[in-house]
Symmetry: C2
Subunit: 215 residues, 2 copies
DNA sequence: CGAAAACTGTACCTTCAGTACAGTCCGGGG
DNA sequence: CCCCGGACTGTACTGAAGGTACAGTTTTCG
């Protein structure tokens, strides 16, 4: 019982590393069992097929990202009481955390699976969906608080804004990979931060003659 | 000579449809040659391997997206002289055009390839890179014009803003697929539009006694 | 007409996911 | 102490997919 879950975790660890390094499709089961020191039968004892492995990774990722998000935003809440400041701070902290993680932050797992053939498997699709929905509802909740205190400058649907933050993260991951520029992800997190500022933060009252901020 | 390129085009047509419907990995060469009515040898006469097919799709896509972008922004330029209005209008038109295209607008091809194993092939990577760079430099050029006329409200790097629009498109594609909500893409295009408005558009001058939007 | 381009046909190789199923090892409860 | 079930191993195999090699055939165009 104990030993079984330990092996399963080891397979997931190895798979995660490999998937982040090379993508899901390029990660072969043979390779994983070789590194884990088990046999093919052993692998299929734990996972009924490769989709099941993807599911395992996705579940793990969901937990990890929950920890990550509540970590940064929890810390932000310690540092400020103002919901807007908390969100802005949280995004900055998140950008930092995502930069620290070498080539592969957890979000990559979802991104790596989210546009693949595997998505046609119902369960994988559901798991990806649940991951994305988790992130955006996390943001959505905070945006609700902010909008209470600071009426948005434009009439917006907060669900769309929440998804926007997610899109910038996913898009940032895709573009970081595609352009070979790892900095794009944190950069886009800060763009999300900018958007929130522009949307909610009141302008400092300008003294007459003072120009708005230019580049 | 003529016939050769015609066959090549037919293979690309079939491949494009299949890839948009099922993803690149799930599209088999056998399937393509069957539908094209050619043999395997015939296929490999035109494409040295599957990466080469991806390259072909990417090249085509680059042309198509060039046409799409200059189409919508050209039309927008006909409708307004103001660079900001042109951009806002262009984004709206783009959102409409992308909604029209059923499940598979051209961007999907890049998205479908951009986070796959194939990306580890140098040429494919270069092509994906060039596609993304094309889109963002297109946006970047227009943002330059806008910033001339309207000083941005926050100090921003216009390259980052250009990439932000791209990220919202890519992220929108990924989330549309992942959440099974096709509307997310156009929705996020409009969020990009919002961002540009917030960043550049001057607020309507307030009459005395009128409150600023903030609480 | 002739040469190159555009294929066809056949045979074969490798990798990979997945199946089937019998046998083994091992720790804990009765 | 033994047996039961969870956690595997071993062996053998299948089918799909990407790809190679290469000789032969048809088509097209200058």
């Amino acid at each position: 019982m104990r030993k079984g879950t330990a092996t399963r975790q080891r397979i997931l660890d190895i798979a995660e590393t490999a998937v982040l390094a090379k993508g899901f499709g390029a990660t072969s089961i043979d390779e994983l069992i070789c590194e884990a020191g088990i046999t093919k039968s052993g692998f299929f004892y734990h996972f009924k097929d490769k989709n099941d492995l993807a599911l395992g990774l996705l579940e793990r990722h969901e937990q990890q990202s929950e920890i990550l998000l509540s970590g940064v935003f929890g810390r932000a809440r310690e540092l400020s009481d103002d919901p807007l400041q908390v969100f802005l701070l949280g995004l900055t902290l998140l950008a930092e955390r995502l930069t620290e993680m070498p080539a592969g932050h957890p979000g990559c797992i979802v991104a790596s699976l989210s546009y693949q053939d595997r998505l046609f498997d119902r369960n994988v699709r559901a798991a990806v969906n649940s991951n994305m929905a988790g992130w955006s509802s996390h943001f959505r909740a905070m945006l609700g608080e902010i909008a209470q205190a600071y009426p948005p400058r434009l009439p917006v649907n907060l669900d769309h804004v929440a998804r926007m933050v997610c899109c910038l993260i996913d898009g940032g991951i895709v573009m970081s990979k595609g352009l070979g520029m790892p900095d794009v992800l944190p950069e886009q997190l800060l763009m999300a931060r900018n958007h929130i500022r522009l949307l909610f933060q009141p302008w400092p009252t300008r003294r007459p003659g003072q120009r708005p901020v230019a580049e």
